[in-house]
Symmetry: C2
């Protein structure tokens, strides 16, 4: 088996932004293949009885997170600005990503929308932001959005969200190397090192 | 001002254990002075409406945390075993530590009790564990415990817990470098690097 990591993310998740912008380069450096897997944090939070992000519900943690984000982004040389709205809805672009898991443009599409949200402080839901990004990537938006909004397209995001929950995911980003789960952008390097490690003989 | 870091911890906190066992050596390597500052997580959790650790309240996160602890301990070459009771009460040794903030043996006392809890899976509350550790450090336990349990001694832990909360602490370990807060054992190295950095001219 070639080295492989699963990257589970939500476009509305600020720490997912930090991982999304660097995972492909860091993985390539180690010869690790990345599967980008979008899922919705909302239903997982709702299962805890939360109606929004814990960064909103817990005031002290929320205040800390934005300072931590500035420091972590600077450490990785990534752009970041605290969004004026958080968490931003991203249902349509999440459906686009989920319904096109194998499209070569999907990671670029997600990175571009996270830059909109977490650098340019612009909304990402509704068709316009997705259309603009797809056009910039040279993709015709019409069939992409039509498939994303079709019953089959929508079902993929629901299925992935259920799979994340069933596998013990409770936050984003989360990474899997085989059955080993890692949570948080600050575990990305550990997870990649784990994926790149030669498997023990069995 | 010489480089300095504040290390806020709770003896019952598993991630505090990881920091406690390595902070003095890591700080010394960078010429950073460490202040060990015990505080009780319980009242901070209670203020969120929680009656115990979020690692108990959130099942998926709780399951993850013990695997993460094993990996992080291995990464740092530290011993760790998942305790059969969590979180373990530690009120008396916390009072001992708080009432003797400037005692040269205080960090060693805390490290030894965390090894009891997080490596040897033994209780740490009540007088016996503290007495045994103090004796092993060559300290007469009787006056130490008497002061810890006196009204003045108890007041120190209450004051520190209130100060932590007032300064925005919401978990342990937390580190302060001036007014800059860092949360979690996985931010210890960032915090120490920050403390060791030459101050900008003003």
């Amino acid at each position: 088996m070639s080295p492989h990591i699963e990257f589970w993310f939500d476009l509305s998740s600020n720490y997912s932004h930090l991982s999304a912008q660097r995972i492909d380069a860091e993985a390539a450096r180690r010869g690790v293949r990345v599967s980008w897997l979008p899922f919705l944090l909302g239903p997982l939070f709702a299962a805890q009885g939360w109606n929004t992000s814990p960064f909103v519900l817990q005031q002290a943690k929320g205040a800390y997170v934005w300072r931590d984000m500035e420091r972590r982004a600077a450490r990785h040389g990534l752009a970041f600005r605290r969004p004026s709205e958080f968490p931003r809805p991203a249902t349509l672009p999440m459906r686009v990503a989920a319904a096109h898991l194998d499209a070569p443009w999907m990671p670029s599409f997600c990175r571009a929308l996270m830059l909109e949200n977490f650098v340019h402080d612009r909304g990402v839901d509704g068709p316009e932001p997705s259309q603009a990004v797809l056009r910039a990537l040279g993709i015709d938006p019409a069939p992409v959005l039509a498939h994303a909004e079709s019953p089959d397209g929508r079902a993929v995001l629901r299925r992935l969200t259920g799979e994340a929950q069933a596998r013990g995911v409770f936050g984003a980003p989360s990474f899997f190397v085989g059955t080993e789960m890692y949570w948080g952008d600050d575990r990305l390097d550990d997870a990649l090192d784990d994926a790149a490690r030669p498997a023990a003989a069995t």
